[in-house]
């Protein structure tokens, strides 16, 4: 009884505070004649969005505009996470190198990009670095890749019968999993080793390529072609056009977050006591086996939780897109849609819920991954 009473009181207090703010908002909104409701999401948006992964036009609804913004946020967040992890791993391990040049270069990268504010770096990339690129008609490109001030124009792939290829790809991945487990079991029981990686790669490459060999699927390349718009400007039609807004945000986020991940990696690897490596070496394990079986499982346990933090930071920092016209969820939904409809409370609540869900999903996945790869103490 004694334990329950304070809990009940706290719960009542929380409910009271929440109810007060809701009631307050209700009264004030009805005083001003403002209504509350999410029905506006079905209305036509009437504005265009520069860059979208799905079909969108000015006749699409606000709900669809929200989806476009969400996908753009996820695109820059995930590609940023991948590149930041890549940079973090490389520079983190480089910091531990015995080569003085590599060591100092990695140290310079970390200190430089870590200590400048992210917004400043973003402004540098967008308003300074990418502004000096040439106009489309002034560049000859590099093997059909055109880096211009308007966009990075690249060739794109056109698929035919893509689904056949994807089914084969999925099938081969499942096959790899099954074979991996089978061989691991054999290795644990009998001690016999099989070249698992080699077999997996062969399966991964051979089976999906059956789709092409038998002529069911095909890939074609579409090249960007120059089109003149006026006497002094042009653009490229066809292929893929990656806007400088995305590139600037992607670079700024990756370079900035990569430094923190590099420090995490360094901390993780340095945190393994030398005795572990020496004992492993004296047990007859090769360098590669030491890294995979002894160092990494222990290091990852130290590296992954703070790196999860950095992934979440990167995702939230992607909201800086509002400063440079990249149409992410903040600019499109909590910016344009909010200004056009005036529904501040509804829109901000949806945006907050979205970021919360993305962050929770990322941290849930990373926790699962951590449990899987980290060594369990017996």
């Amino acid at each position: 009884m004694k334990k329950i009473v304070p809990q009940i009181i706290t719960l009542l207090l929380i409910i009271l505070v929440f109810a007060f703010f809701t009631f307050n908002a209700n009264v004030n909104m009805s005083n001003r004649g403002m209504e509350f409701g999410y029905g506006f999401l079905k209305r036509a948006a009437s504005f265009d969005i520069q860059f979208s992964l799905i079909e969108y036009s000015r006749e699409s609804t606000y709900g669809r505009a929200y989806l476009v913004g969400l996908l753009n946020t996820l695109l820059v967040a995930f590609s940023g996470i991948i590149f930041a992890t890549f940079l973090g791993l490389i520079f983190g391990i480089a910091r531990l190198s015995k080569n003085l040049l590599i060591n100092k270069f990695a140290a310079f990268y970390v200190e430089f990009f870590r200590n400048l504010p992210l917004l400043l770096q973003l402004f540098f990339w967008y308003y300074a670095a990418l502004r000096i690129l040439p106009l489309p008609h002034e560049t000859n490109g590099f093997y059909n890749f055109y880096m211009t001030i308007k966009s990075l124009y690249t060739p794109s792939l056109i698929w035919e019968n893509l689904d056949v290829f994807l089914y084969l790809l999925g099938f081969s991945i499942i096959l790899i999993f099954i074979i991996n487990n089978y061989f691991k079991k054999i290795q644990e029981n009998k001690g016999k080793q099989y070249p698992i990686l080699l077999i997996s790669l062969i399966i991964l490459f051979i089976i999906p390529s059956f789709a092409f060999i038998f002529g069911i699927s095909s890939i074609d390349i579409e090249y960007p072609v120059y089109k003149q718009l006026s006497k002094t400007s042009g653009t490229f039609i066809g292929g893929l056009a990656i806007p400088p807004e995305f590139i600037a945000l992607f670079l700024a986020l990756s370079l900035y977050t990569g430094t923190f991940i590099a420090e995490n990696v360094r901390a993780g690897i340095e945190g393994i006591s030398k005795g572990q490596k020496e004992a492993a070496a004296s047990s007859g394990l090769t360098q590669k086996q030491i890294l995979n079986l002894v160092v990494l499982p222990q290091a990852l346990r130290i590296i992954i939780p703070p790196t999860t933090n950095q992934y979440l930071n990167l995702t939230k920092n992607s909201s800086l897109a509002a400063a440079i016209a990249y149409p992410d969820i903040v600019l499109v939904f909590a910016g344009t849609a909010l200004m056009q409809t005036g529904r501040a409370i509804e829109i901000v609540s949806i945006t907050m819920a979205t970021y919360l869900s993305i962050s929770l999903a990322i941290s849930a996945f990373m926790n699962y991954y951590n449990k899987k790869v980290a060594i369990t103490e017996k």
């Binding site: 308003y127 502004r131 400088p244 344009t336």
Partner: protein
């Protein structure tokens, strides 16, 4: 009798309270905003973050512009001194929420009067102080002479969350052109991105184009295309529900235009008091009665004209003499002079 004394006293008390409330409301015009403004001693005015000719602060923090003059007129009418205004620079995103939340009482921020804003946002537009239209700015050496020269695939810089963005989408859809919208929250960023060459065109209200062109590195390299693709009646906005405050702001603007129509200027306002023309007598306050209907004193309109000037003076000093739109006033001239400024009479 004694039994009902308690009920009787409470009844009498209730009636007395009701009576004082009603007489109070009958005596003074009921307007919370007016009362608060007088109490605070300044008019809370929302303006832009810096648009030459409309609301622009110089290095010393002095605000000038035709929108600024609307707020100063309200201050002169209500508080007696046109300088008793507190200006709050607002972005396009905050402007309406700042007004509905009570952070400002008048929004004079080159805001377009549309049905959606009138009906959806619980605001009231109290007039038009600048008739504008949307246009495009392109580089002179591009060779484009009109919007017919636009081609699919071009990129256009503009502000998001404004009528500009919606008009642009409608216009391009009507022409069947595909384009890339590069949308910023701040006008400066949109203008600079266009200037750097990232965009082929920059679009906003033509008055904004004229003002921004003066700020670009080489103004002569840019031209404003002749087409006007939309109507943009820009005017001051107040909250819905305060009818007295609405009337005060509306008629402060109207009296400025009326004064120009009858030739009353800041210089001759005092001497015009002796005129025989009944309209001029009402404008200068020589004939009393107008101010009282608004809840203001008799000299409200005289103060506006003397301290801020009439509409023509405000327009000339902010828009023509500064070189933004030095030529004829176009639609922003009086209806008797070829424009469409026609306000209801002060009567």
């Amino acid at each position: 009798m004694f039994k009902y004394l308690k009920q009787l006293t409470s009844l009498v008390a209730m009636v007395a309270v009701l009576f004082t409330f009603t007489t109070e409301s009958m005596a003074a015009k009921k307007s919370k905003t007016l009362k608060n403004t007088i109490k605070k001693g300044f008019v809370k005015c929302g303006v832009s973050q810096g648009l030459a000719g409309f609301s622009f602060a110089d290095n010393a923090g002095n605000w000038t512009g035709v929108d600024v003059d609307v707020c100063r007129a309200v201050a002169a009418a209500v508080l007696g001194d046109a300088n008793k205004v507190k200006f709050t620079p607002l972005s396009a995103k905050e402007r309406f929420t700042a007004l509905t939340a009570g952070q400002i009482d008048v929004l004079a921020r080159n805001t377009t009067w549309t049905l959606t804003r009138d009906a959806d946002l619980n605001l009231t537009f109290v007039g038009v102080n600048f008739y504008d239209g949307q246009g495009f700015m392109v580089r002179k050496d591009s060779g484009m002479k009109s919007t017919d020269d636009f081609k699919s695939g071009m990129s256009v810089c503009t502000n998001i969350g404004t009528t500009t963005e919606l008009n642009l989408a409608d216009f391009m859809a009507a022409k069947g052109l595909e384009y890339k919208l590069v949308g910023f929250e701040k006008a400066d960023e949109a203008r600079d991105t266009y200037g750097a060459g990232r965009c082929d065109a920059y679009t906003t209200d033509k008055s904004g184009l004229a003002a921004q062109r003066t700020v670009l590195p080489n103004p002569d390299d840019h031209i404003v295309l002749p087409e006007t693709i939309s109507k943009e009646p820009l005017g001051p906005v107040v909250r819905q529900g305060d009818a007295v405050w609405e009337d005060i702001v509306r008629w402060s603007l109207n009296v400025m235009i009326e004064a120009e129509e009858y030739g009353v200027t800041s210089a001759n306002a005092d001497s015009m008091k002796t005129s025989n023309n009944p309209s001029i007598k009402k404008i200068t306050g020589a004939e009393p009665g107008m101010g009282e209907k608004l809840g203001l004193d008799n000299d409200w309109s005289l103060r506006i004209i003397k301290q801020v000037g009439n509409y023509g003076e405000s327009y000339k000093r902010n828009i023509q003499d500064t070189g933004i739109l030095p030529g004829t006033r176009g639609p922003n001239a009086l209806w008797t002079k070829g424009g469409i400024l026609y306000v209801p009479p002060l009567r």
